[in-house]
């Protein structure tokens, strides 16, 4: 705030003094040069605008570009990943979700014996918002989850990697009928937490800032995760990806 005062207040104050033409100052300036007030106004006004552009507008544009770039990096990366057709005939869909606490949310099924409990469970809910979805894929807009739902919610809550087939778990995911209707019920889901990156010490911290999910909804693709070797490699991949995300998020 002090820096902003120095940048803007001093030139603007000088401008006001010149523009209101205080008799003594105006006379003193015109004694030096008849067009001095005009020239000084021009220089002060111009330098204030220039300072604003250099200190505020330019860095903001730079950060905006960087903000857009981070998704480009991820887009290219996952495109490379998918181009390799890792799961032949079972394309993988990747998404990144970040937790956001909201005041009121009705996405979870009403569970609880008392009315008070049912209502109170709807307040201060942690929602998982999709911030990125792998290119070429669509997500049903009706499919929205909280941190207490689905494999992704579970992975976020316990802070571990979870791999699970969908057909066998659909009844245990705490979904409403509406949410169930938006998913295919096939394939598998693998989710892992994204840990915050501590820039000061260049290492990951315990804080979870998001969740990465790889999924496949092709019927029969759930068989892929039946082998332990496949699960191990899948875990390694998704963990590597979450490491990249922790550097970007």
């Amino acid at each position: 705030m002090e820096k902003i005062s120095l940048i803007y207040v001093l030139p603007l104050l000088s401008l006001v003094i010149i523009l209101i033409r205080l008799p003594e100052i105006d006379r003193w300036l015109r004694n030096h040069y008849s067009n001095a007030p005009f020239l000084i106004t021009l220089i002060l006004g111009g330098s204030t605008i220039l300072t604003h552009v250099i200190t505020v507008v330019a860095p903001l544009k730079k950060y905006e570009r960087q903000e857009n770039n981070k998704w480009t990096i991820i887009d290219n990366l996952i495109a490379t990943y998918l181009d390799h057709e890792i799961f032949r005939g079972s394309p993988l869909v990747a998404n990144i979700m970040i937790p956001r606490r909201v005041f009121y949310c009705t996405w979870e099924p009403a569970i609880g014996s008392s009315v008070f409990r049912r209502i109170s469970a709807r307040f201060f809910v942690r929602r998982l918002d999709v911030v990125w979805l792998s290119p070429g894929n669509m997500m049903n807009k009706q499919f929205r989850i909280t941190a207490r739902q689905g494999i992704t919610g579970k992975a976020y809550t316990i802070g571990r990697t979870i791999i699970r087939d969908i057909p066998g778990s659909i009844d245990q995911l705490n979904f409403t009928e509406q949410q169930r209707a938006t998913i295919s019920g096939n394939g598998f889901v693998a989710s892992t937490p994204i840990f915050a990156f501590d820039r000061k010490y260049s290492r990951s911290t315990q804080k979870i800032v998001g969740i990465v999910t790889f999924s496949s909804s092709i019927p029969g693709s759930e068989k892929i995760i039946e082998s332990e070797k496949n699960r191990e490699i899948l875990k390694e991949n998704i963990t590597e990806f979450s490491g990249i995300c922790s550097l970007i998020l």
Binding site: T161, I163, R164, D165, F195, R199, K235, I244
Partner: protein
């Protein structure tokens, strides 16, 4: 980035395969953040290739006729 080499260990809870993730296992290589990101991407691509090779091999075995008369 590379992950600390550890024996793969999973726990099956209610049909879910749960695997521990320790943030200390993430080893970021490089002196700047940009370098770390670049290395992490390189490692990820390597790991993705490994996954592809593995599945290719598995699918090949599955499609090979297993003898018979």
């Amino acid at each position: 980035m590379s992950l600390k080499k550890k024996a793969y260990k999973e726990t099956k809870i209610d049909g879910m395969y749960v695997i521990d993730v320790d943030p200390a296992d993430f080893q970021f290589k490089g002196s700047t953040e940009r370098e770390m990101l670049f290395n992490a991407i390189q490692d990820f691509i390597k790991s993705a290739r490994k996954l592809k090779e593995h599945f290719d091999l598995e699918l090949k075995h599955a499609s090979t006729p297993q003898g018979g008369s």
